[in-house]
Every structure is written in C-alpha cells, then in structure tokens.
C-alpha cells in the first residue's frame, strides 16, 4: 500500500573537463523521471552541467572483505611512479 519507487544513483559533472562524480541517490519510477528528480534535487545551486542516473541495483561493487587481495598488491609496485627513478638534477625536461 505504501510502496516506494526504485532507487537510482546520481552522478553530476560539475563543469566541462571534469568527470561525473557520485552525489547521492533518488527514488524514481523510470529513467526519464530519475533524471528529472536528480536535476531537481542535486543541481538546484548550479552544481552541474550534466547528469547520469544508474539503477542502484545495477552497481557492482568490490567486496570490502576482499580488499587486501584487491588493493594491497598495488602497494609495492613503486616502479609505476616517476619518483622511483634517479635522474641527475641537471638533466632537464624529463
């Protein structure tokens, strides 16, 4: 008797050149109305120039219980970072 609409995640591009960023969610019956609701909720103060909405149920997330296996192996790959390499100061533009 008091059902609510499905949940959508909202992403806003705040200005040209930036990525869309997650800002929150809205309930809406379908994608078109979800965009309207996202606009009326999250861009009332000129916060954005572009919106994405995604059904919350469609988001696939990594499992935090698994985060050691997921993210720790990246920690010792220091050679991926430019500061790993020693180049004398007098060599410029590198």
């Amino acid at each position: 008797m008091s059902k609510d609409w499905p949940l959508w995640e909202v992403f806003v591009r705040s200005r040209g050149g930036l990525s869309h960023r997650h800002v929150g969610s809205v309930h809406a019956p379908d994608a078109e109305i979800a965009v309207r609701h996202a606009r009326d909720t999250y861009t009332r103060r000129m916060e954005g120039i572009s919106l994405w909405v995604v059904p919350s149920a469609a988001i696939v997330a990594s499992d935090p219980a698994d985060d050691a296996a997921m993210f720790d192996p990246a920690a010792d790959k220091v050679y991926r970072h430019p500061t790993f390499y020693n180049i004398p100061d007098h060599i410029k533009h590198i």
Partner: protein, 281 residues
C-alpha cells in the same frame, strides 16, 4: 493630385525598423504606456498566481522528489512574476513596485488567465493545468524573446528555459498518469475535463492583445493556436486519454472577471500586507 516622391527601398527598411516607435498613435514619451503596463501585468499575474498555487503543494506531494520538482517550478514562476510586476510598476510610473501590485490589488485588477487560478485538486488536476499552461507559456515566451520591448524580451529569454522544463516535466507526468492504472487514467481525464474550458482564453486576442502584437511587444496568439493544439493532442494521445470536446469558452480573467477561487487565493496571499499596511517586512 500632387505628385509624390517615390518610396524607395531604403525608406521601407527604415520604416520597418521604426515600427512601434514614432507612429502618430504611439504614446508621448512623458505619458505612461498604459497598454504596456497592462500587458506586463498579464504576464506577471499569470506567473504569480500559478506560483502561489503550486507552492500550496509544499510538504504534501506524492514523494519527496516530487515535492522538490513542484517547488522548483513555483520558484521559477515567483521569479518571473517579480520581474514582470516590477517592470509593470516602473512602466506605470506611479511609484508602485512588484510587491505593491502583488499584495495591494483586488480581484478586479488582476489580469491573469482563469486557468492558473484553478484549484490544485489532486496531482492529476495539477499536472493537467501545468501542462496546458506551460505548453502555452513556452510558445508565448519563445515569441516574446523577440519582443520590441527590451525588458519583456530579456525576461522572456530567461524564463523560456524555465517553462520549457515545466512543459516537459508536466507532459511526462500526464503520460504516466494517463497510461498508468485505471484509477490514474480516470483522474487524469478528470483533470483535463476540469481545465479544458479555460484554454480558449489563452488565445483570446482582445483589444489589448491585438495592440501589443501590432506594436511588436506582444505575440499574435492566433498563429500559435494550431501548433499548441497539435502539441497537446500528441501528448494526450500518448497518454491514451481523449481531449474533452470543445466547450463554450470561459473568458474574463484578462478583464478582471475571475472565478470564485481567486478571491480566496488573494485572501491568503495578501493577508499580512493588508493587515499591517504601515509595516515593511
């Protein structure tokens, strides 16, 4: 018959450019342009009264999200009203500003169309009213962006984006409610049945509207009518509804002859400034 100098093409260009200023019946510079005043009142009152109506939903909408949408539309409309009424006051030149005009006129001096003062009813009736009005207002403002009056053109240019959104949003709701459940279809149909008789007034070209159009300040509404009806029909059909049959048009709003509803709306809206005439807020 004296011989006349020929009218050259460059004269015609100049004449076109000067249309609306300098004709023998144009008002003298130091006299207030009362028809422009009246025209601005119509625009301002439409927005004001509909904004007031929509704001009645605040806190009572079908969902929190819809509450936000309705308040956004109301805010747009109150903003338009402020611009148009302040301008009307300036044109009139009697020291009245937007607030004076909004809060210190009685029913007979309001110039809004009857459609906007109609009660909210249920959400379907509100959306029918919004769709019928915003579709019209969008076409009107589109035209007014080219108004010879700079101020009218400037406000219309800002407002046309707002009302274009109102039109889209209300059309989406009309379609969902019309083609939703049996109950919502009936309610949506009832919403159109209630509001339909006030549509002809939107296109009524009375003397003032004709004058405003002739001077290039206002729009010739008759040329918009067919496009309007085509637009409305296509949404109503998508909503699986039927347009009510044309009834006898109810007119009068533009002359200050309103429905019973407006007086009650004004009682609420004007209560404070009327009760405390010496106060500022």
């Amino acid at each position: 018959m004296p011989s006349l100098p020929p009218i050259r093409p460059e004269d015609e260009v100049r004449a076109r450019e000067r249309r609306g200023t300098g004709a023998f019946d144009a008002p003298a510079a130091d006299e207030p342009d009362l028809s422009l005043f009246e025209y601005a009142l119509r625009l301002g009152d439409d927005s004001l009264i509909l904004g007031q109506r929509l704001a009645e939903w605040t806190g009572h909408a079908p969902s929190v999200e819809v509450d936000l949408s309705l308040a956004n539309m109301a805010l747009d409309l109150v903003g338009q009203a402020t611009h148009f009424l302040n301008y009307a006051g300036a044109v009139e030149g009697r020291g009245r500003d937007g607030d004076q005009l909004a809060f210190h006129r009685d029913v007979l001096d309001f110039r809004n169309c009857l459609l906007v003062e109609q009660p909210n009813g249920d959400f379907a009736q509100t959306m029918a009213r919004q769709f019928l009005f915003s579709t019209w207002q969008k076409m009107l403002f589109d035209h007014l962006t080219r108004s010879k009056d700079e101020m009218v053109a400037a406000v219309a240019a800002k407002a046309v984006k707002e009302v274009s959104y109102h039109e889209e949003l209300s059309a989406e709701w009309v379609i969902r409610l019309g083609d939703g459940t049996e109950e919502s279809r009936q309610r949506m149909q009832d919403g159109f049945d209630w509001n339909w008789r006030f549509v002809p007034e939107l296109f009524d070209m009375d003397e003032l509207a004709r004058e405003a159009a002739m001077r290039g300040i206002g729009a010739d509404l008759t040329i918009l009518r067919d496009v309007y009806h085509a637009k409305v029909r296509s949404v109503v059909e998508e909503a699986t509804l039927v347009l009510p049959s044309d009834q006898r048009p109810i007119l009068g709003g533009r002359r200050g002859h309103h429905s019973e509803h407006l007086g009650h709306l004004l009682c609420v809206m004007q209560f404070l400034p009327r009760t405390y005439p010496d106060a500022t807020w």
